[in-house]
């Protein structure tokens, strides 16, 4: 590892200003950035350590939901009573992610801003559309774990399995740049390579994610998060399906978001419409399964993700129909 300097800002404004002038990467939990530095995929002179900034941890109840500080660890989020009670899909997805150690270190802000796990992107010496070059090694290469949707420019998958759940809850991502704050819907926050191959999220230079807001109006007891992967202990999902049904008790307000199959969480309003059209029975499962592969462009080794998604959505429907009201 190449030694670097560590900048320790005392406030978000300071961090933001410093990073904007210097282009140094932010570090929070460190689990993502340090690995990339060790691989010489990035060689920063300075990193900006956000860990000492006050007021960015913890979960607080607000009038209209909860607000999760960006530096809150994954484990703290997953085990928080307000999350397990009101946003169980979020808790479930976190407990499926990574390892106990990583969940104790990684922050939720870092999780949604982490770089994709593409093994070309994380190996020194593969220049591609994502890191200043052009093209995509995976499209004609080893792509078993890569995207089947939106993969024409770059076939990475969104690595955060929290991200699809945030999209499903219509979470708002609170961002600060300098002294300015803004909120972006999660659905817009995660972007695809055709929008900008160099970025995975809508952060401008100097901007920091400071919190995540989960609106109370989208809570539901009818939810499901299903994923499949090769190994149950520490592995990345090959595909996931997040489903929220009758959000806020509003009949027909559903969300279906696919994860690990595209560069950004993939909301499927076509599937939501189908869900709206009938009851949660086998016929519904069939209809969803017929449709779920629409728009996919599987590569040479990842066509299996389509039948895998069919399986996961079937299980999702059964999960929801099996959950008791209230």
């Amino acid at each position: 590892m190449k030694p670097f300097k560590v900048a320790i800002p005392k406030s978000v404004e300071q961090a933001s200003r410093f990073q904007k002038s210097d282009d140094s990467p932010f570090i929070a939990g460190g689990t993502d950035l340090l690995a990339r530095i060790k691989e010489y995929v990035v060689q920063p002179e300075t990193i900006v350590d956000l860990k000492r900034i006050e007021g960015m941890t913890g979960i607080t109840s607000t009038d209209d939901g909860i607000r999760i500080g960006a530096l809150t660890t994954m484990n703290e989020v997953a085990t928080d009573g307000s999350v397990t009670d009101d946003y169980p899909a979020l808790s479930e997805t976190i407990m499926n992610a990574a390892t106990p150690q990583i969940r104790n270190m990684a922050t939720i802000g870092g999780n949604i801003c982490q770089k994709p796990r593409c093994w070309y992107l994380r190996h020194e010496g593969y220049s591609c559309a994502k890191n200043g070059g052009s093209g995509c090694w995976a499209r004609e290469g080893e792509n078993e774990f890569h995207a089947i949707f939106d993969n024409q420019v770059c076939a990475v998958t969104s690595p955060s399995n929290v991200a699809p759940v945030l999209v499903a809850y219509s979470a708002l991502i609170e961002i600060q740049g300098g002294e300015e704050k803004r909120e972006i819907p999660a659905e817009d926050f995660f972007i695809t390579p055709d929008q900008d191959p160099g970025r995975e999220v809508l952060l401008e230079p100097g901007e920091v994610v400071i919190s995540i807001h989960l609106p109370a109006k989208n809570r539901t007891k009818k939810w499901s998060y299903t994923e499949a992967r090769e190994k149950q202990s520490f592995d990345w999902a090959q595909a996931s399906v997040t489903m929220l049904y009758d959000r806020g008790g509003r009949k027909g307000d559903h969300r279906v978001v696919l994860g690990a199959v595209s560069p950004a969480p993939l909301r499927r309003d076509d599937l939501e419409k189908i869900l709206k059209s009938g009851s949660l029975d086998d016929a519904m499962i069939k209809k969803l399964q017929m449709k779920i592969g629409d728009g996919s462009h599987p590569l040479s080794q990842n066509g299996y993700k389509v039948p895998m998604l069919r399986g996961l959505i079937a299980q999702g429907v059964r999960n929801i129909s099996g959950r008791k009201e209230g």
């Binding site: 320790i8 350590d49 270190m105 090694w137």
Partner: protein, 208 residues
């Protein structure tokens, strides 16, 4: 598509100019982290800049306060092993995949390879050496021995730390909970079942 082998992308090259005073002040301030930094929240214009050379780092390890000099880019694992002589935690994957470097940070398990030592300033660090000694084994260590929950022994310190944390959080875990508790620790020799039995043994005896 560009398929020719090529040089790695250039690292970030824009230099951040350090004011001499800032750098000097930094070396002093880190010893007091985090209070110094938090205490001056918003009052200074510039972030504290540490490194890239060695800075004093004060850590509380196994109940003892100590100070050491290390580059701020030093991981907690390397600081423990190379500067403190605490070689129980092992460097195996060095990427947070295997858990062989697990230590407790304020009672919670972390992969010490994947965090900076300076981020542990102000926290209570417990390594396997702080859990028990050959003369004074913890109940769990004793159970590991009795249940043969180790083979080559390279993952064992990390496993002991993870299981200690697991039992502290949940003194009577079921098998599934134990499996989950050690799911961040890989054992290449294949001792999982014996480890599960060791944890169950301690749990039944009400030890820790």
């Amino acid at each position: 598509m560009d398929k020719k082998p090529e040089e790695p992308p250039e690292g970030v090259s824009r230099r951040h100019f350090l004011k001499g005073a800032g750098a000097a002040a930094a070396a002093v301030s880190v010893a007091q982290l985090p209070s110094e930094v938090q205490g001056s929240n918003g009052t200074e214009d510039e972030p504290t800049i540490l490194g890239p050379g060695p800075v004093p780092i004060q850590l509380r390890i196994n109940g003892v306060d100590g100070q050491t000099e290390a580059a701020p880019s030093t991981t907690l694992l390397d600081l423990l092993r190379d500067h403190q002589g605490l070689t129980g935690a092992k460097r195996v994957c060095d990427r947070g995949s295997c858990g062989a470097c697990t230590v407790l940070l304020d009672g919670r398990t972390v992969d010490s390879c994947s965090m900076l030592a300076i981020d542990a300033v102000g926290s209570e660090i417990t390594t396997v050496e702080g859990i028990g000694t050959p003369e004074n084994l913890s109940d769990l260590q004793q159970a590991f021995i009795e249940k043969d929950a180790l083979q080559c022994g390279f993952c064992t310190p990390g496993m002991v730390v993870s299981c200690t944390a697991l039992l502290k959080e949940n003194p009577s875990p079921d098998r599934e909970q134990i499996r989950r508790g050690i799911s961040g620790n890989i054992c290449r020799c294949g001792t999982y079942q014996n480890i599960i039995e060791a944890v169950e043994h301690v749990s039944r005896k009400g030890g820790k």
